[in-house]
């Protein structure tokens, strides 16, 4: 009787793991307690051990994520012993498996070095294993024809199809946030800024990174009717309620908001993103994350897997959320906040800079570290 | 008989004069590092080594080895002096200095007890090569607290090796009296390992010589290890200026000085003659090295 090898539950945060590598070939004799394969979750790579002596039979191809409990192989007592592949497969087909794009690690390293989005490249070259050679070709092409920025421009364009070649964006708010948006858009071919609006009349007529401040927010409707832009992005962050009100007012009028996402932001598989989100450089949105509308994620914001973020939230630089965190609407995070897994944060809460959240936060809370105190004077 | 006594006296006096000169030169700043003298223990060096055949037998010595060296290889006295002075013309090119001496069949080193297993290995080589040679190793009672000596005694007994362990029991380990070092008497140690032991007065050069001669004769026949414990007394400091013993204790032991014991037995004329000869040899040596 064959012994099944199934994908174990590696930690409570992951209901699946990737079968990285078989350590012995098909048909190899393995001994009890010997490592037979390596599986990987978001947290770690671990070995699976043989439960008994036997002949190793591979069932599942490597490089693919399998749900916990999925049978990935067998240990048989003899070479001839039949294994019931069908029986095993039945257990696995509840959810289709996710196939990881294929590339060599060298290609991965070079892609990183040259700033190439491999997911995107893989989509362009389906059924091809991406190699060092291909990366070099892409780099060479890009360097000779800067306009042909296909592979080198990761953005949501390929995940959200608006059916237009270049999305024209109107920026609301003329502060530092506007500069951030303009800087990001300068490296995105599929989006362009047509202007900035700000209610501070002294700014009107000025230029931000070469883009004009056209007037105050009352111009939105006019410009929309003149079809001067395709979508809005809001950089208003000082007052969360104000930010929310702006988003809701224009959305009700039927004017769409854009997502502006810096090329260096890593957006992983199975991520859902609403509209009106601004995600600055260095961010990381892990697999399974749901991000609502009108959120502002400053540089280096990390949202770990399966976290759910509501609407109108702002994140200070380098704030990190662990896996399966729930954030309600209108939450404001300071700089470098750290949130433990499974934490829930209620609506309209404020979490001050540097806080490490280890417990839930009720709605309308303000969380702050105890004030830094001078412990002694230097002289 | 008198000729032998004269011979022993002259050898011991040469060692004494040589080492007293070293202490003087040290205080005058001619020497670096440290010197350990065997003043008061000369009979041990002379009595044992006179019984050896330096062509075939080997000696492993320790930090207090000038006496052993001069008795073993008097012809290299200038080489020894140059070595202690730190000259390249020294027997070890000035690298060794006082504690690390080597000429053919003679090895000394500065780690207490560390030469005993080496001497055991040399004894093993003598035995394997059927050289009928004896490996002698000198230690003091202080070193007899080192564990490796007992590992060596076990192997010498186990393999029946021609190893002669000479313990110069000078009653002091640097500054610590032997009674604060040892919980049992040293004479009882080697018999427990199956190595026969003889103890004699180490300040009586004839006793030392006669006993050594007898032991070595036996060892050339049975190729087996022996231990010889010599009761002696270090009249000088451990190195220089580091002696806290009372003047009463030192004065009592001056009476047992191996040189004085012989001076009683020899005529005044001979003693004076030998003293002059030794003085001349040392002053010639100093002249050779341009030291006044």
């Amino acid at each position: 009787m064959a012994i099944t090898i199934s994908m174990p539950l590696l930690n409570v945060n992951d209901d699946s793991a990737i079968l990285v590598r078989w350590l012995y070939p098909e048909g190899a004799m393995v001994n009890k307690d010997e490592a037979i394969c390596i599986v990987e979750t978001t947290k770690s790579a671990v070995d699976l051990y043989a439960e008994a002596n036997g002949i190793l039979r591979h069932l599942s191809p490597t490089g693919i994520a399998y749900k916990t409990g999925t049978v990935i192989g067998f240990l048989t007592q003899s070479v001839e012993e039949e294994v019931s592949v069908l029986d095993a497969v039945v257990e696995t087909t509840e959810n289709p498996t996710v196939i990881t794009p294929k590339w060599t690690r060298k290609a991965q390293i070079l892609a990183q070095r040259f700033g190439i989005d491999l997911n995107l490249l893989a989509a362009q070259y389906p059924d091809v294993s991406i190699t060092e050679e291909l990366i070099k070709q892409v780099v060479a092409q890009h360097q000779s024809t800067p306009s042909a920025e296909i592979a080198i421009e990761p953005s949501l364009q390929h995940q959200h199809s608006w059916g237009i070649t270049q999305e024209r964006i109107l920026i609301l708010g003329g502060g530092g946030g506007a500069a951030l948006v303009l800087d990001i858009l300068s490296s995105i071919a599929s989006q362009t800024a047509i202007g900035v609006l700000d209610n501070n009349s002294s700014l009107v007529g000025a230029k931000i990174l070469g883009t004009d401040v056209l007037g105050d927010f009352s111009l939105v409707m006019q410009l929309w009717q003149e079809k001067k832009f395709d979508s809005l992005i809001s950089t208003v962050v000082r007052d969360i309620d104000d930010r929310a009100a702006i988003f809701e007012r224009f959305t009700q009028l039927g004017i769409p908001f854009a997502n502006v996402i810096a090329p260096s932001v890593a957006i992983r598989q199975n991520v859902k993103i609403g509209t009106g989100n601004l995600i600055v450089h260095g961010g990381y949105i892990a697999t399974g994350v749901h991000l609502g509308n009108n959120n502002f994620l400053a540089a280096g914001t990390y949202i770990e897997h399966h976290s759910v973020i509501g609407n109108h939230c702002t994140f200070g630089p380098r704030t990190s959320l662990s896996g399966r965190v729930t954030v309600a609407d209108r939450v404001k995070f300071g700089t470098q906040v750290a949130v433990e897994p499974f934490i829930e944060i209620g609506t309209k809460s404020v979490v001050a800079s540097g806080v490490v959240l280890t417990s839930h936060v009720p709605a309308h809370s303000i969380v702050k570290n105890t004030t830094s105190v001078v412990i002694r004077h230097a002289r | 008989m008198s000729a032998q006594l004269e011979f022993f006296y002259e050898k011991m006096l040469l060692i004494r004069t040589f080492e007293e000169t070293l202490l003087r030169l040290f205080s005058q700043g001619y020497l670096r590092g440290t010197v350990h003298t065997c003043i008061g223990q000369e009979a041990c060096a002379v009595g044992i080594i006179a019984a050896l055949n330096s062509e075939q037998d080997t000696v492993c010595s320790n930090h207090r080895g000038h006496g052993h060296f001069l008795m073993f290889s008097e012809q290299n006295m200038y080489g020894l002096f140059a070595e202690i002075l730190g000259l390249e013309s020294g027997i070890c090119n000035g690298k060794g200095g006082s504690q690390h001496l080597h000429v053919t069949n003679f090895y000394s080193n500065g780690i207490l007890g560390g030469m005993v297993p080496v001497a055991t290995g040399i004894a093993l080589a003598h035995k394997l090569k059927k050289e009928n040679a004896i490996s002698v190793v000198f230690v003091g009672d202080g070193a007899m607290a080192e564990g490796i000596i007992y590992e060596s005694l076990n192997m010498a007994a186990l393999w029946q090796l021609p190893l002669l362990l000479v313990v110069e029991q000078n009653q002091i380990a640097q500054s610590t009296p032997w009674t604060l070092e040892h919980g049992s008497i040293i004479e009882d140690r080697s018999p427990a390992f199956g190595v026969p032991r003889i103890a004699v007065d180490g300040n009586h050069v004839e006793s030392v010589y006669n006993t050594a001669k007898e032991l070595i004769t036996q060892m050339r026949i049975d190729n087996a290890p022996r231990c010889l414990v010599l009761h002696t007394y270090r009249l000088g400091p451990h190195s220089k200026g580091d002696d806290q013993r009372s003047s009463t204790e030192l004065a009592m032991n001056q009476e047992k000085d191996p040189l004085k014991q012989l001076e009683i037995l020899l005529t005044q004329q001979i003693v004076t003659h030998i003293k002059m000869r030794c003085q001349k040899r040392i002053s010639d040596m100093l002249t050779h090295f341009l030291i006044s």
């Binding site: 690690r105 | 090119n93 060794g96 030469m115 297993p117 290995g121 040399i122 490796i148």
Partner: protein
């Protein structure tokens, strides 16, 4: 195919046959036991009187071997576990190496063989890589062949060329390994020094420049066949350089390979900090300042006791995965 153990046994057999100066000493080395790791199995039967089984007195037997070496023999002393070399340290450092250097015209051709390394659950005092403690000892040579070398050839080379003490470090897990030769993916070249010692140069590619130079020695070679093969599939081009003479540091041999690759990982099984890898890294920085693309990465075992429990031991010791991660980290520098 010959194993590391068989080749070493064969080397000792040849030495005993051809050189009457050779004497083997050590604990439990004679038949029928033949040594804790069977390196001397059969030899005491074939060469009566040439192998001496000794009392359990590592310091004392080292001294005895020194005495033999001073008197015309070439003793090859086995210290059963490398961990016990701490007991031999005084005889090695203050005696054997001093005699050959501070005395005039004295040679002390002492060879001390000892197995180091973990991975077999022997626990804190039988699994260490303590050659580290002897690194940099004047007039002591430390030689540790990997399984890309032939340890039997090496020990003969030592007897032929050395007149001063040598520590010959084996790794417990190499004994049963086959000696590695070139295959379709891995190309092994042995570069010979003037003294006739080999440095194994191992490439997992045939054309192009290396992406990274991996420097290591001894037992870590057990990871390399698989690691280099796996990385070849990933197009990561590695040139691994394994000298068998590890001290004095073979820096002149290593520099050209490190310079060519511009990215360097140095791996050793001993504990972190102040070890061989760190020392080599220091010397490479001195020679190759501004010629490297990124900092040198050193991979070692953890600086703690080596636990007996299998999982804990794995966490502490160097592993293929740790080396692979270091390689990836270095390659990830822009």
């Amino acid at each position: 195919m010959p194993t590391y153990l068989k080749e070493l046994q064969q080397g000792l057999f040849t030495l005993l046959t051809n050189d009457q100066r050779i004497i083997l000493l050590g604990e439990d080395i004679i038949d029928p036991y033949g040594g804790a790791f069977k390196v001397t199995a059969g030899l005491s039967t074939q060469f009566p009187g040439r192998l001496i089984t000794t009392p359990i007195a590592e310091a004392g037997i080292t001294g005895v071997a020194v005495g033999l070496a001073l008197r015309g023999y070439v003793p090859i002393l086995e210290i059963m576990f490398g961990d016990f070399l701490t007991l031999c340290a005084d005889q090695i450092i203050n005696h054997a190496t001093k005699f050959s250097s501070m005395y005039s015209a004295v040679s002390c051709p002492l060879i001390i063989r000892s197995p180091m390394g973990g991975g077999r659950g022997y626990g804190p005092t039988h699994s260490q890589s303590l050659e580290k403690l002897f690194l940099g000892t004047p007039h002591l040579k430390i030689i540790s062949p990997s399984n890309f070398h032939n340890p039997g050839r090496t020990i003969q080379q030592i007897v032929q060329y050395e007149s001063n003490p040598v520590l010959f470090i084996e790794h417990k897990l190499l004994y049963s390994e086959f000696l590695q030769v070139s295959n379709e993916i891995i190309h092994v070249n042995l570069q010979s020094s003037e003294e006739g010692y080999h440095t194994a140069i191992i490439k997992n590619y045939t054309v192009g420049n290396p992406d990274l130079c991996l420097i290591s020695y001894g037992g870590t070679s057990r990871f390399l066949p698989k690691l280099l093969t796996d990385l070849a599939v990933e197009e990561v081009r590695i040139i691994a350089v394994l000298p068998e003479v590890i001290d004095p540091a073979p820096i002149d041999i290593l520099v050209p390979y490190a310079a060519a690759a511009r990215r360097v990982v140095i791996a050793e099984e001993s504990t972190a900090d102040f070890g061989w890898a760190v020392g080599i890294a220091g010397m490479l920085y001195e020679k190759l300042w501004k010629q490297l693309d990124c900092p040198i990465k050193v991979v070692t075992s953890e600086r703690c006791v080596i636990p007996t429990a299998s999982e804990q031991e794995k966490e502490v010791l160097i592993s293929a995965l740790k080396i692979e991660n270091a390689i990836m980290e270095v390659l990830s520098w822009l």
